[in-house]
Symmetry: C2
Subunit: 343 residues, 2 copies
């Protein structure tokens, strides 16, 4: 490497300028705008060097320079000062959350909204992955003679219930016994470890009480499956219209169409295991993401790693500010979720 001090300063100035203007910048304007103490000609020479080294790009001969992905990478890894995130904002974040009483879903949705509002970008939040969580409680409740309610509760406090309609006769006592057996057998097992095998095993044991288990077991499987399924909250999609890079219809369309694919987004967020990860432009695998950057972070729920937060924006995004927001939000979110637990 060995970029000179002056080159770094120039690179930084270019990035800073491009982040706000989205326009290529030339040596003369750079010299005028930023007090670098050197003439435009010198800057010109340095710029040529920086381009040769791959930190800058030139959209066409005789236009200004813009930062390359490599340039952003250098900036993010070494040049960027960690954005100051005043206490003020943190309090505001909390307040915002506190509004949503109880429900985790609400908290997560609000988190996504808050991120997209403060960063003016598109945010994605993945609900906690409960695969690792243990089952806490299973219960069957008779609603009336042909409706049974199945309740499944995870250790982390997620509740799933299913209405089961049955034609078969059953007694309250049968139901209670079945309920207890299932609860006893599954309690404390990690949800991802509850295989069809375990359930089938139980089936044998329980079928003698009543034929309704034929309806109950599929419902149970279903409830467990839903329990570990990941919910995705996407907010601030329309924010991209404010960015000059999306004034082109096709770009906007591609972006939106891409973000419409839930599975893709889940995959995208889960592929990084880091606590905070920045993927810049072409570092992204997917073609449509080549001119986007993605910041992902991991939040904790109940001690073990679980949820994901992501922000998608143009490579030209304000990395310093955005990462500081993301970092602060994950911290606050983890705090709130664990507080909630302790209560």
């Amino acid at each position: 490497m060995g970029l000179g001090d002056r080159q770094l300063k120039i690179l930084q100035a270019i990035i800073k300028d491009f982040i706000t203007t989205a326009e290529p910048i030339g040596s003369r304007t750079l010299a005028k705008k930023y007090d670098l103490g050197i003439s435009s000609a010198t800057i010109r020479n340095e710029m040529a060097d920086l381009e040769e080294l791959g930190y800058l790009e030139q959209p066409h001969t005789s236009s200004g320079r813009i930062p390359s992905d490599k340039g952003y990478r250098l900036y993010v890894d070494h040049l960027m000062k960690n954005g100051t995130n005043p206490q003020k904002q943190k309090n505001e974040i909390k307040k915002k959350f506190i509004k949503s009483v109880g429900e985790i879903e609400q908290i997560i949705e609000n988190t996504a909204k808050f991120i997209s509002e403060t960063t003016k970008l598109t945010s994605i939040v993945l609900s906690p992955q409960l695969k690792q969580g243990k089952l806490k409680y299973v219960k069957l409740v008779s609603i009336d003679s042909n409706v049974i309610l199945l309740i499944v509760v995870s250790e982390t406090g997620i509740v799933k219930n299913t209405i089961i309609r049955v034609d078969e006769d059953y007694t309250f006592n049968d139901l209670e016994i079945i309920s207890r057996i299932i609860d006893f057998k599954l309690k404390g097992i990690r949800i991802c470890d509850i295989t069809a095998f375990i359930i089938e095993n139980m089936y044998e044991e329980v079928i003698k009480y009543s034929a309704i288990v034929k309806k109950i077991f599929p419902a149970l499987m279903n409830a467990l499956e839903e329990m570990v399924s990941i919910e995705l909250y996407l907010e601030g999609l329309t924010n991209i219209f404010d960015l000059p890079e999306y004034h082109n219809i096709d770009r906007a369309r591609n972006f939106m169409t891409l973000l419409d694919q839930k599975e893709y987004l889940i995959d995208l967020l889960l592929s990084s295991k880091e606590e905070l990860d920045i993927t810049i432009g072409k570092e992204n695998k997917h073609l449509e993401m080549k001119n986007c950057s993605l910041i992902t972070a991991t939040y904790q729920y109940n001690g073990f790693i679980v949820g994901k937060i992501g922000v998608i924006g143009p490579t030209r995004m304000d990395y310093s500010y955005t990462t500081s927001v993301v970092r602060s939000i994950t911290r606050t979110l983890s705090e709130i979720l664990n507080e909630d637990k302790r209560k």
Copy 2:
């Protein structure tokens, strides 16, 4: 009125053409394309008359004509043949639905997806309004010494539950008694009729058993409130990018921003009580909707009127096809929801 037969034919041809091409059409092309048996000059004269009567518009002198809102209205009310909706499609619809086992939310979401896919427009589906529904069942279940689960079930089979964390001591017996009293008092009452008054009344009666009711009652209120809240499913937003009228960024942005406002959409759909309602262009109250048309329909759940379906597209949409799709979907949806009940 008194539009001649020939004028109606011309109007119909223009509308038909404009629906597919989105381009103003002139007398010559109209004469060539559609075998009307009259010359372009005659068409020209008739077009001038139709314009004077307000059924056509001319974007600029010396361009072709396009239908006006009034023209569409005439078309929708009198000219449009009810689109044939082959049995084939109906079966396909059903199949699509049947995939989603059980959960009403799933069925509704799939409905929205299906509509937007078949019409290539943006669809909105409102979940059933449960205000009119009666409460069927309330139960408190002890999960562990400081966690209680509150379950509320409506007659229509919607379940809401809330985890309540308590520090106060309580016995299983207390909990059971409280649970029974609440259930007894509220069972059979329409959810919208359960006022704070009723609940407070009950509070007095129940507080003697344990202090935990202080936590239970707010949770109950909350659960009831959530129960009657309307969910909204929006699908096919990105479809508008395929429409030439939204190749203009600002239009696309306005459209998306408008549809981002849940409250507005709910209001929009609920403001029509008809079984099937078509609102064309300027008939819409909201400025941003002046160049859109909206088709809304009502579906039934459990006998009484409850849910809403909507399709939003440009005034140039294929009314015949779209209404037939919407009509058929509402019918199928009502059927499925009631079948589900009977099971």
